[in-house]
Point group: C2
């Protein structure tokens, strides 16, 4: 029996949150819910169905295709009490591919699915990167070619627009793994191992100094081929559009695939998409189009989110292979983008009324509170034993826009003084009138 243990008897526990994870206090949570609601609304408008996958997956699900760094350095992995080696999901793509594979036959195609879920990666916490993070994942399974890729990119653009972002606030960089493969093998004439190293190097290009990039490129080419190789890379990096590409690349089947995608994006009214031969995307499972939404704000110049085509994952789970394309905007990056561009509105609590009980009217006010709630009014009742000014202060600090004072006399009369906190206006209204008055002033 510990019910009478006094907490101060024990050494006290830390009130800090786990390192790299945030406590979501109500004001922060309102921002999160605002962003989630926009995501959900766009995903639904495109006909996507909500799903969710378990928090834990067998570790080998990630070992197979997500990339070495993610699995070896960043997963939260452990052995459960049943001796299973598991990981807290660091991303959704393998899980959703597994789910599709498990019901490959029964699922009507194309399957358009979305989830809003949390993930964990053990990374060094820094601005824009937390160990616990949230993502929207949208994916189409069973739709080949440019229209599906254009739809996923259009959803990204629609999400940006839903927050009020103009198209000059970000750019959509596009590349294609087939172009990359062709470039590495045919144009730069690299062996598979060299190609893989070069891809990782391109992926880090914006994070390292030009000299470091050059030195590492020389290492990969080897002394005898490095001069010609560096010239070719310089030519690639100078290309501002597909038309600037060296002819050997420009005429490849892979590049024509990219061109078709741009045709669809133009028809969807997307004008801020650009071809970027240096865009790689870190994950190993991409097989075709890859893309990245990039913030153009000088003080938040960074990748916002990316995605692409990954045709090999579903087949990995023993099902007939199935083509797939998806993207995954993250909460933190989205919030940083909105803040940088001044697009985040002040989001008020849902609570509309704080009912302040006067004297001993608590019992009598129960019915009134029920009636208001049944009428759609969000009502908090302050039945504490404090002085009125303390109650008022708390209501104001909670940003509740209306105060309703309820004493025994008011209950008898059936009309109550409703005070607008901002204007200090007060009107005496019946429960019914309060409901109709506030229904026009409600947060959606």
């Amino acid at each position: 029996m510990k019910s009478d243990t006094i907490a101060t008897d024990m050494a006290s526990l830390s009130s800090e949150s786990y390192k790299g994870a945030r406590d979501w206090y109500p004001a922060d949570m309102r921002v999160r819910e605002y962003i989630f609601a926009k995501w959900r609304s766009v995903a639904r408008s495109f006909g996507y169905q909500a799903y969710d996958a378990p928090l834990l997956e067998p570790l080998e699900v990630y070992a197979a295709k997500s990339g070495q760094e993610l699995v070896n350095e960043q997963t939260y992995q452990f052995t459960d009490r049943g001796d299973r080696r598991v990981a807290i999901r660091p991303e959704m793509t393998p899980s959703v591919s597994r789910m599709i594979a498990a019901r490959r036959q029964e699922t009507p195609l194309p399957a358009r699915w979305y989830s809003i879920a949390q993930f964990m990666r053990y990374e060094r916490p820094q601005r824009g990167r937390e160990r616990e993070f949230w993502q929207l994942n949208v994916d189409i399974f069973g739709a080949e070619g440019a229209p599906a890729e254009a739809e996923i990119i259009e959803m990204g653009a629609t999400i940006m627009k839903s927050f009020g972002a103009r198209s000059d606030m970000y750019v959509i960089r596009i590349n294609n793994r087939k172009v990359i493969n062709y470039m590495m093998a045919q144009y730069l004439e690299l062996e598979p191992t060299q190609a893989q190293m070069m891809i990782k190097l391109f992926d880090r290009k914006n994070k390292i100094a030009p000299e470091a990039f050059r030195d590492q490129a020389i290492d990969i080419f080897g002394a005898d081929k490095s001069k010609q190789g560096l010239q070719k890379i310089a030519q690639l990096l100078a290309a501002k559009s597909m038309a600037d590409l060296p002819e050997a690349l420009r005429d490849s089947e892979a590049v024509r695939e990219v061109q078709e995608l741009f045709t669809y994006l133009e028809r969807a009214g997307i004008k801020n998409a650009t071809f970027d031969i240096t865009l790689m995307r870190g994950l190993d499972y991409y097989t075709g189009t890859v893309f990245e939404f990039f913030d153009t704000h000088p003080e938040n110049n960074r990748s916002l989110f990316g995605g692409g085509r990954y045709d090999g994952l579903v087949g990995m789970f023993g099902a007939e292979p199935l083509t797939a394309v998806g993207t995954a905007p993250g909460l933190t990056m989205m919030q940083l983008f909105l803040e940088a561009h001044g697009l985040l509105p002040e989001i008020m609590p849902y609570t509309q009324v704080c009912m302040i009980i006067l004297g001993s009217a608590t019992l009598g006010a129960a019915k009134l509170a029920q009636d208001l709630r049944a009428g759609g009014v969000a009502v908090e009742v302050d039945f504490t034993d404090r002085k009125i000014d303390k109650k008022l202060k708390a209501a104001i600090k909670k940003q509740i826009p209306y105060i309703l004072f309820v004493g025994e006399d008011d209950l008898k009369a059936g009309v109550y003084p409703l005070k607008n906190v901002q204007t200090a206006e007060e009107q005496r209204l019946s429960a019914e009138r309060i409901i109709s008055y506030l229904s026009d002033r409600r947060r959606s």
Copy 2:
């Protein structure tokens, strides 16, 4: 470079979900979202603010107050890459208490908070119990006495009502830890260690045979005191209301606290609450009122959810102690209840229209899809290269209520055949007319 690896080259991975965790396919997810939406709506109507806490907490947070079984046998615990001993949260109460403690001074009181979150416990998976599970948590911090407890219980009842449950479908059992303590120490005359064992025994009463209960009770009392002790227990168990309690108990301060709570519940219109001296609630941190919503359906006769007052937790995190009361309905139990009573409606997808592209109209249809979406219509576009009957079948299997056929000619004419899948009726409408026609037929 793995982009050209064929999945079938590798031994295939299992497509099963982690044991005890569910894959949430769209149809299941719609049920989950239906239940979450009701929870959220009730919590908001009572003026509760949404919050969330990290998935991981230091293990000692639970070791202190949650109970031995939970910590030693059921937590998912591991050491992270930074050598911290952590647990995936098995419940929310310690986390939310920690958060309140961390901002004890800045938080306007009473703080009414809610969260809808997932948890993990390593238990034997069985009907109604999964290792990964979801709960609504509602808590009031800084409000003493019966009104706060009545409010939390009323919220539980309001949630039940919001699903269409009648009050005869469940019963609310109420007890109080102070009554329990008084009963153990003063009435049954047990030493603290005996009392703790007896509480655990009462807690298991409905799960073990009467003989086992009797034998274990004798063990606890000891041979010399067991006869008198068993008589007293029999008298307690026979009590159907507070009035039936032995006089020594009935007149205690603790029982008067329970009586006050009942007064408030009656005023809130709650008629299915009953005093139950055998109700203990497993968690160690409760200090006053405890309660449990119990399904009365003969085939689902079980505890649905519970809660109570826990005044000691906030102070454990180094803050000035703060009174608290809360409850936590779970998703699985809620769904079993709704299914048992036939209260779960069929929940259709949000998608209203499947736009089936005829011929090569995909590019041209992009603008039409955008216009419909901007008008609030959820539209999936089937631009696949399949025969029309395959596309139709997929749309029907997805339960999309309307089909819009779009060919080049329709795009020129600006009117499109909209087909109601259920009635097979077809009408030719402009984009604008489609929007207004479907706006009346939308899922909320």
